[in-house]
Symmetry: C2
């Protein structure tokens, strides 16, 4: 197999080649020179509009995303019809639960064969930064190829999700009735990422309590210019999906009105993420030599402490 030039692939992908697009996304997953070249091209194009969807497993996120894809294809953005939608499914535990990813795609069955929809599961290939770099890069690729809107679906509100949310323009947090405990444990993360709250499976008991808990959490979260709305949906029937899409586009307009700040904040987040990954890579390089082993020996012998040892190693780097 001859490696194709990212620039050539981008031209083909813009002309509609899904194969070329798939190859570009594999480049950003795999790391190395092709990743850098693909990123350089993608970040030169205007940033795409990205909607993040996150929440605990079992909340119906895939079904909801499926409904949102259909709804989005009936709408327009900046006066142009949304004629194509990209979807990234991210599951950091995928090496261990490969079935879940396949399941996601199958649950999004309404659009699995729709040529206007491109669905991709993202997996880490263990390169520099892993998913926390590959996902933002992949979203930029989708934008550069011409998708006016992309969804990115993640599980939970851990570190990765917070990072992914920083590359989404609008983040939806999906909860279900009776979700109180999970909410308690993740309050800080939720408040940090949510632009819109959705109580899915709203045909079940306990919706009012969940809404009240969310509203209280927002009250305690202090003043903010955008207060995340709390919406009810039943993803299996599509109830509430139209209103949810309205709320998403409202948030987009709000963000657009402050677009300079937002773009700077996004650029800053992107840069910090890559910077951190490069420095982590450097730890890996430092941690692989004779000087490092000598410091480990000194630690075992008790003649140094980890702070002193790290300082001498950084001095060498």
């Amino acid at each position: 197999v001859i490696a194709r030039e990212p620039g050539e692939l981008l031209v083909e992908a813009r002309a509609g080649s899904r194969g070329a697009l798939a190859r570009l996304l594999t480049y950003v997953e795999s790391g190395g020179e092709s990743q850098r070249a693909t990123a350089a091209l993608s970040y030169a194009a205007p940033a795409p509009y990205v909607v993040g969807i996150t929440g605990a497993p079992g909340g119906g996120k895939s079904t909801l995303t499926d409904q949102l894809i259909g709804e989005a294809l009936t709408r327009s953005l900046d006066g142009s019809a949304i004629d194509e939608v990209g979807v990234l499914c991210v599951d950091p535990s995928s090496p261990f639960t490969g079935g879940a990813i396949l399941g996601d795609r199958i649950r999004m069955q309404a659009h699995a064969t729709d040529t206007r929809v491109y669905i991709r599961s993202m997996a880490t290939r263990g390169h520099l930064g892993g998913l926390s770099l590959a996902v933002p890069d992949a979203l930029r690729v989708l934008g550069a190829v011409g998708f006016p809107l992309s969804f990115v679906e993640t599980v939970g509100v851990g570190q990765l999700e917070v990072e992914v949310a920083s590359s989404a323009d609008t983040t939806i947090v999906v909860v279900t009735p009776g979700w109180g405990d999970a909410m308690q444990a993740n309050k800080a993360g939720l408040l940090e990422v949510a632009d819109v709250f959705v109580v899915n499976k709203a045909d079940r008991a306990g919706v009012a309590e969940t809404r009240r808990d969310l509203a209280q959490m927002l009250d305690l979260g202090g003043d903010r210019q955008w207060r995340p709305p709390i919406l009810d949906t039943v993803a299996t029937t599509g109830d509430g999906v139209e209103k949810l899409m309205d709320a998403i586009l409202q948030h987009r307009n709000f963000v657009d009105g402050r677009s300079h700040d937002t773009r700077r904040a996004k650029a800053r987040a992107e840069l910090e993420r890559v910077l951190a990954a490069m420095l982590r890579e450097r730890v890996g390089v430092i941690a692989d030599g004779a000087a490092y082993e000598a410091q480990v020996d000194a630690l075992v012998a008790g003649t140094t402490d980890p702070y002193q040892a790290a300082e001498s190693l950084i001095g060498l780097a």
Copy 2:
């Protein structure tokens, strides 16, 4: 308040002063020069024996820890009676759920007034590395002060817990009957940290299934020299706690037999943790200057990409 010298405090703490010990632990939580000086002293002393206890919230970890404290005080280690036990309670979400920490201490009521037992809740003070450095340092302080055995209780199996587990010699993962879903989501983390599995609340239905799920997970996890035993406990009555303590000490003997490897692995983990924290700190410094803002401007303008921008900044550092 005049800052006391860590060396002086360590002498007093060794003589039994809980006030001096508390001050040393505050130093490692707070960062800065006092942290470094305290760490230098603590890492010069032999490493303590540390038992980690982790698992999802609501599994009865605090009650179990309480029972283990009592059991440990009847045992001996290397021919000497375990006459003192240190306990660290770690809750990374504590700034938001302050009540949970207080609750932990109250649930450990059997030993709250026992002078042989020192219980401390660890909170991050937002310094370099936060809890991922403060907890290992605090465990070393307890060892340097003379505690033959310390417990460290954490919630969940996220990144912090994996890091804390790397500074424990024996890690107990506490699950409860019907814990299947949480287990699925965290398989990799569980397999990575567990030396002993405990099915607590074993008087409830579903114990056999949970044991079977755990055993299957271990079967799939590949060969390892130590296969984590799966034990049943009822922490509220103390059933199974004696056997659990036996298993802990068996694992300790196993680890002791390979002590050179283990000590090197621990030293390596300590060094990597501090190195990563120092490099993160460096990101903070880099991310705070005019050169950084210039790169952010270039990103917003689309004239660079985050990789190129990060490389130029690292070149300047």
